[in-house]
Symmetry: C3
């Protein structure tokens, strides 16, 4: 069996967890913090049979992929006298850091 | 050395931790969440010498085993005019999901 | 690649994390609890290339080493009529429990 760790953004967590469960697979969530941005993120732990590893990696790739999103940043150019003008800005969201370790023994008690 | 992960119910955690400590073994607790029930649970991390692995698995089996318990569910059958009548109901509590990975290097600083 | 777990004191965490980042390395922080003292501590997870393992262990040894510190304990010897007299007391602080597991697969999504 293999233990998958997936460090993902908090926003991707609910959808990804329910897709993992829909595939009949169990998953445990740990709250974590990124060292660099000091912002909260999510670490998932998934123990799978060897032959299901690629399926689970596929689900994570599909629902946590890093993608572009357009958000309205609150820019108030002084030339407009300070009126609020939502300015669409393209940012990078999502993404996951995934690592897999070997499980030597597994049991349900 | 081996690293044991044990995902247990919150109620079993204090007793199990003190039994692990009584056996002279150290343990670290992480707060976690079950993906399916979205309820809080506990993930224990225990690094042990190889020859103590079975002893620790034995302690986890003894103090976190899944068992039946009788709880009073608050049923108020309408036929009694709504008076509270505790109705004993049998539920499944406890249980643990345990997995072990190999530790290549261990040091105390 | 290798996955390093380092269980450290909360006070050492900010400095150690920024030194790990300064070395160009990523790190994820989990809040944890010691089983014996039931006090909060910090568990760091660091996935590194094999040839950087010793560098990271060196950084952890340098910034989380167990050391003596002098703290003023609030002792009010009755003989002085209860006036507050800070009494320097030497205590042991810091320290880390570090363990390394092998990573079979790593990917950024
Ligand atoms: N090898 C590894 N071991 C353990 N945990 C790992 C890891 N690689 C990534 N992570 C975890 O995943 C989060 C996102 O990493 P990512 O590389 O996508 O995105 C990173 C990266 O683009 C940048 N970054 C992080 N550390 C950096 C460094 N030392 N130098 C330059 N950029 C860094 O800042 C973003 C957020 O980093 P943050 O630390 O807040 O949050 C990180 C960290 O919690
Ligand atoms: N292979 C694995 N990898 C990572 N973590 C694992 C795991 N197996 C179990 N866990 C962890 O242990 C908790 C209890 O699992 P258990 O299988 O006893 O009890 C489970 C199981 O009876 C059921 N369940 C969970 N996922 C299911 C699914 N996809 N389909 C059907 N039943 C599911 O709901 C109970 C609670 O699940 P929940 O996810 O809230 O909480 C899970 C999860 O946090
Ligand atoms: N093999 C292992 N597996 C998993 N986690 C490990 C571990 N070794 C250490 N830890 C983690 O590191 C913390 C500090 O351990 P340390 O051995 O420096 O310092 C320990 C040790 O000096 C003492 N201690 C812990 N358990 C003991 C026991 N069963 N018998 C005697 N002394 C114990 O109390 C201090 C605080 O322990 P606490 O449990 O609160 O907190 C522990 C625990 O969270």
């Amino acid at each position: 069996m293999k233990l998958i760790f997936a460090i993902i953004n908090d926003e991707d967590s609910p959808r990804l967890i329910s897709e993992i469960n829909r595939a009949g697979q169990r998953v445990t969530k740990l709250n974590s913090t990124g060292g660099f941005l000091r912002a909260g993120n999510t670490t998932l732990m998934i123990v799978v049979e060897n032959d299901l590893l690629d399926t689970l990696l596929g689900i994570i790739r599909k629902y946590a992929k890093s993608r572009k999103a357009v958000v309205n940043s609150s820019v108030t150019p002084s030339v407009l006298g300070g009126t609020f003008m939502p300015l669409p800005v393209e940012v990078q969201i999502g993404g996951a850091t995934v690592f897999v370790v070997n499980v030597e023994h597994f049991e349900k008690i």
